[in-house]
Symmetry: C2
Subunit: 430 residues, 2 copies
Amino acid sequence: MIAIEGAYVLTMDGPDIAAGTVLVGDDGAIAAVGAQGAVAVPPGATTVRAAGHALLPGLVNCHNHAGMALLRGYGADLPLRRWLEDRIFPAEARLRSDDVYWGTLAAAAEMLRGGTTCFADMYFFEDEAARAVDDAGMRAVLSRGLVVLDPAAAAKLAEAEDFCRRHQGAAGGRITTMMAPHAEYTCPEPYLLEIDAVARRLGRPLHVHVAETAAEVQGSRDRHEGRSPVRYLHDLGLLRPGTLAAHCVHVDADDIALLVASGAAVSHNPASNCKLGSGVAPAARLLTAGAHVGLGTDGPASTDSLSMWETMRLAGWLAKAAGQDAAALPARTLLRWATRDGADALGLGGVCGRIAPGLRADLCLVDLRAPHLQPCADVPAALVYAATADDVAKVWVDGVPVAEGGAPSRIDTGRALAECAVRMRRLIEP
Amino acid sequence: MIAIEGAYVLTMDGPDIAAGTVLVGDDGAIAAVGAQGAVAVPPGATTVRAAGHALLPGLVNCHNHAGMALLRGYGADLPLRRWLEDRIFPAEARLRSDDVYWGTLAAAAEMLRGGTTCFADMYFFEDEAARAVDDAGMRAVLSRGLVVLDPAAAAKLAEAEDFCRRHQGAAGGRITTMMAPHAEYTCPEPYLLEIDAVARRLGRPLHVHVAETAAEVQGSRDRHEGRSPVRYLHDLGLLRPGTLAAHCVHVDADDIALLVASGAAVSHNPASNCKLGSGVAPAARLLTAGAHVGLGTDGPASTDSLSMWETMRLAGWLAKAAGQDAAALPARTLLRWATRDGADALGLGGVCGRIAPGLRADLCLVDLRAPHLQPCADVPAALVYAATADDVAKVWVDGVPVAEGGAPSRIDTGRALAECAVRMRRLIEP
């Protein structure tokens, strides 16, 4: 039993608790939550004294290609097409399966030390990503990205299905799976339908890029009788409860209505959308319309940083600037998107994303004593607008400590980064 | 003599040096810069081994109200007018001069540990701000903000003039001064002209808010025969080389042309402009037009964080998203704005902002070994898109170490933050 005592607790499940006690059972579940003094701490519990800290659910990153940590910063500031065609695709063509292990492990190190306990991934060699997630002690929703450009499309689909069968519930339940048609523009209709048939047969949701760029939307309209990617995927039956639609930058009112009506969730990835020049998703309108929204970083090659703190505030900043409304997307909404709503978007609403009895103890303890967080008029505002990964003092997944004082507990970070440096050179300097 | 050896040196004065040596003389000036091995290190020099680090000029924050650290996060997410009128103005009315000392000292602690060595300030009780800057060992360009709302406008103008006379060149040259008419909408024409006359008499530049919100521009057009704030201030002769125009969010092509032709500099403050819902300044167009641009955070009450790292990347992200162009405002331009061009904007181009022999040794050493900076394909991109204040290993001003390992050297940070916490409560809970 662990007793975390004295923190400002953002349960994301009711009002905040100014000085709370959270008990974590030996089964890795949250056993009790309440005001300090109102929760009896059993004798023998390990106490974590947390005054001056905020405790919140571990952050949930809804869209990543974690293995791309191997290509971090490569081709920065190039126009999107040159970035992809001249840099990323040639480098990825040289990827080996063990590269993805080390890239994902390095990304996990960065995420865990910054308080992110769960992420949704779409990449290649996902068996290796699963091994890294297991070793790191993280939670993840993994998917093998599928594009038909590949001559071996059918074999890849079989591989993705097999991956889901073997990994669903793996790593003691920390790994779940999705089927991932990459996007409308990379998967022709028969392939989309085949992938969807497998997903339905397995009972697994879909993870798909949707309306990331204006060019993608125009292409969809050209290919599909004027239909946007949202409308097209909806008409094919691919948008439904459980579907995770990444980006949704270029969506109009009809698209937003379809997203809401379908029950699909959106991963809003503002840093990637900015850095790649894709545009700004209408996040405030998605919120108002009642869409399910989580936040994501996208892969470390497109955003450089995997900080969910920066993702939260960028989402807020963009919405406030776009609407010239300081009240748009307030701090509490951004925290909810980054925790509870993100977990819901990944089908993990009953597992994590809130601090409530019975849920898994995926927790993030933030030290509020750094100069950029003091004096503190408003804890949610301080977390959203000023906290960084380095303020994270301690992180648990399933009640197990996975990072402390900026260092992942179960990863040899120095070795992982050294492996990535060597492998990056092989990938980008052939 | 200090010898910083082995860092990746961004001189901002020529090509980067992949592994350089920078010598700092006992007079606080940079003595030599070159490739490691090509610069002779005198016997007896104190060596700083800096492999795995980047060395760049200390960052320059071109617009701040540092004393507002006392109100950090207060009224977050309120619409601008309610934020100002219901929260900030009433709290500021209770400010005492020693509050500004502690607020500015806390802000200096945050800035120094994050690599910012110089800032431009506009606030009240600037004698106390000057004392904090001197104690912290920082460089600053200070100004007493002037608004005519105050019945004592004439006395305040005399105070501002007296402040400039007493503090220009103070703290061993680390403090310089400006005259600061707050804005067109807070200073009627006779007051603007009086302030300007004093500035010209003293030979000091102006620091003024310009075109921060759409409402300000509309108000100016209503008050001044259709003229925008830029046009109006230009017509009054207030825009000239040396003038620091903060914000310039709502500027059209004519305004940009006037800014360029006048030789005035712009402080682009993207986080404040976003968080307060002001909008997005046309930074890429300012660049293309040839405007002098530096970067600023604005006060910690409006942005929460004073991180120039986040300011750089937000400026880049906004420009790329607004133009749907990943190549807009590349990392190297953002670094230049945050160093050399910022120093130029504050009239300190001959003093700091570059790593070149003869300039003052205001330096920032960044540890590149954290997971979010590795592997590293591109040092400027890693710094701009992923580095945080906590990656800053060591900071010098005038060759004197002022922060190391996240801790300011000359500030009792714990005491400063404790003072601020007590004072915040008095200001916001009267």
